[in-house]
């Protein structure tokens, strides 16, 4: 279980309530069989105005490919410090990414949006592959991505 809270607190100007007010959230993204190498996925959050708040997870270890996660890269300037300690392996076609994080309660029902940018070698870049509002009601609801993600859901 990774603690996102500290990261968010460090990387954003957003003032979060006390650390105690956080809960474990499981993020599940299943990829379709797109017929390519492992996909890089960047999971991050934006606020009501669409401004970048912080990163939740980076699937894919080689920072030289991050520029293909176009929106994330644009928002962060490719700053790898944004994903320090929350980086894992890229996800193969047809495989599932499942991570559990401690997310601040304040992120829910407050207009925040969770985004996934995806990229695959020699295939199209897919920024904003998934964009779902973070709401308590939306938890457990599966949504499809645009190109690579067959389904994505967050569970509390």
């Amino acid at each position: 279980m990774k603690s996102l809270l500290a990261t968010l607190a460090l990387t954003t100007a957003l003032t979060l309530p006390s650390l105690a007010m956080a809960r474990p959230v499981t993020l599940t993204a299943t990829l379709n069989n797109y017929g390519g190498d492992g996909a890089y996925l960047a999971l991050y959050v934006t606020d009501t105005s669409g401004a970048y708040v912080g990163s939740l997870w980076m699937a894919g270890g080689k920072s030289k490919y991050y520029e293909h996660l176009t929106d994330w890269y644009r928002a962060t300037g490719g700053d790898t410090a944004q994903v320090n300690g929350i980086t894992g392996a890229s996800i193969g076609a047809g495989r599932t990414l499942e991570i559990t994080l401690d997310l601040a309660d304040a992120l829910f029902d407050a207009g925040y949006t969770l985004h996934i940018d995806a990229a695959v070698e020699d295939m199209r870049d897919s920024p904003n592959e998934v964009a779902v509002p973070l709401t308590t009601d939306g938890a457990g609801t599966s949504v499809p991505g645009r190109r690579y993600v067959a389904s994505f859901a967050y569970d509390m």
Binding site: G36, G50, K62, K64, E121, M123, R124, S126, R146, R147
Partner: protein
Amino acid sequence: MIRALHRWPGLLALVLVTILSLSGAALSVFPAAERLAAPQAETELTVATLADRIQLVYPGVEQIRRSPSGQITAYWFDQGTPGAAVIDPATGEGVASADPNQVERWITNLHRSLFLGDGGRIAMAAGAAAMLVLSLSGAALVARRTGGWRHWFAPLRGPLAGRLHVEIARIAVVGLLLSSTTALWMTASTFDLLPDGGAPPAFPAEVSNETGVALDRLAGLSEIPVADLRELSFPYPGDTTDVFTLKTDRGTGYLDQGDGALLAWADLTGWERVSETIYMLHTGQGAAVLGLVLGLMALGVPAMGATGVLIWLAGRRARPRIRGNQPAGRAGTILLVGSEGGSTWGFAATLHAALTQAGQSVHVGPMSGFAPERYTRAERIILLAATYGDGAAPASAKGFLDRLNAFDRVPDMPIAVLGFGDRSFPAFCAFAKDVAAAAQAKGWPELLPLETVDRQSPQDFARWGRALGDALRIDLELSHQPVLPKTETLTLVSRRDYGAEVQAPTAILRFALPRVTLWQRLVGAGFARFEAGDLIGVLPEGSAVPRLYSLASARCDGFIEIVVKKHPGGLCSGQLTALEPGDTVTAFLRRNPGFRPGPSRAPLILIGAGTGIGPLAGFVRGNTRRRPIHLFFGMRHPKSDFFYGEELPAWQDEERLVRLVMAVSRVEHPHYVQDALRDDAAQVTRLIRDGARVMVCGGREMAAGVADTLAEILAPAGLTPAVLKAEGRYVEDVY
């Protein structure tokens, strides 16, 4: 040292470099195939027009990419469904699938990581590093073998595996160096060990917040030719803050979707350009022809791996275990070996065994371990010295001469030097001669004068052994058998006799071809394939030491023919000249690739005397292409030893032979081949100046006389036999 740096990485990384090179060669085909298959844009087509055409067909277009091959791919969404296709720039329509080629993807993953992720990437990088070390050490070895970098492409001699190995290497090494260094660079870049390239420009904070600009009004887009395009990304529909992103060969920029203005631009950095060039050199993407050439060169790697292993095995096999080797401090005889491939160690083992049997205590070691202060009980030092390439010290004798020259006082015990070499090399036994000369210059007492062994000849070695035995006052019979090939039984079919009148009974013996197995035929082993000038080793009854004879026929002649003179008391020649049709001998074939006329059409000057005429007659017989051949033939008397006297006129009529010059020695005014050459000096010089090849076969003294005479004749033309030898245009087969 260099050899060890070549051998061990080679053997250890053999599997890795083989996989790397085969997969690399396979991958090299894809960029070329893509280049051929991709519909190319007309030269004056601009990015704006192309984007327009594509947007017309695919209104939801999101991105357009151009690969270095010129292939244009578009990605779009059509009512939420993603689509992609290779685009024909002339129409903007999709013409082929944009999905990655699954075969290429599979081979790529094998090539870069063995399907093992980062661990596999590191393993393959180690393979590339091994390839780099092998290329560098191999290049140093080639330079040493050919006698320097300037002689990189000098003709090669020696066993087939070794020659093939070097022939492939000296062409492929350029590609392998390039591929392995670029591979290491790319791995380092993948693992973030190299500084990042540049970053795209900062995303503009202020945009016009308008949308709907016409594509041809986007800044610069109407001027940029498609050939410069890398990528054009469209803004998200409905997002007024988004922009067009343009990547070209020069850099990256953002364009406003309302007024088309250039909002930000960043040029490619020098570092990025270097990285891109390296990527192109490695993958061939954007340089398809280079990629194919590199792929072809990579194909040499498995062949070099196989021949390399053969060379290593041959060296190991040739180097036997020496049983009962005495420590240097206790031995009476110190036997030091200077060997490159290992065959000289075999001779050392035979000598060690024979001396030990004769009651001597013998220490065998490499010449590089020369340490006279340790030889406290030694009474003599024997050096068996081969030569590497153009006169260099062989591997196990490195540093010997330096150490010898550094001594103020040489040891008291006398020294004997035996050189091993191949007369077809210009620097025959050059290292042994250097050692003997250095020892003499230091005033080192001599046990025996310098002797030489040509092409591992057991006879030469046995002769020297008898001289050594005499010097030591022991009976020394050295019967060395350099790993004998498989023997065959040959049946005599006919014989022609000559020379009885001049006390030199000689016979041309013709044997039937032995039955050849299917395997021999497939691999060309044994008597399945041979040329005139190759050798047969005959094993006489009562001796294990084979005697070598030059072949006067090729496989296609349908028989095996040799010319044998009966030597008084000669065991093998006695048995051979006593054969009657139907009788058999035991023999094997030994190739002699250094003594071939070669495929050239340049004139041939063949010089031979006595039985040396055998292979030369074979060359003439096989000259169906009517290459101009001039034959200088030394004999005692035309009535007694004019071998092939029946055939030669007929061959002349058929133009297989242009001219026959006879030199007769048993007449009132004796005439030798040297004299015949001198008489014909003008024409010989002209022929040689025009590229003729000289081949000499016969006794050692005759060959030396011929070389001296030619040196004299050619001096005015500024040529010497040594220069011709170095060019491979002067070859000898001497006995």
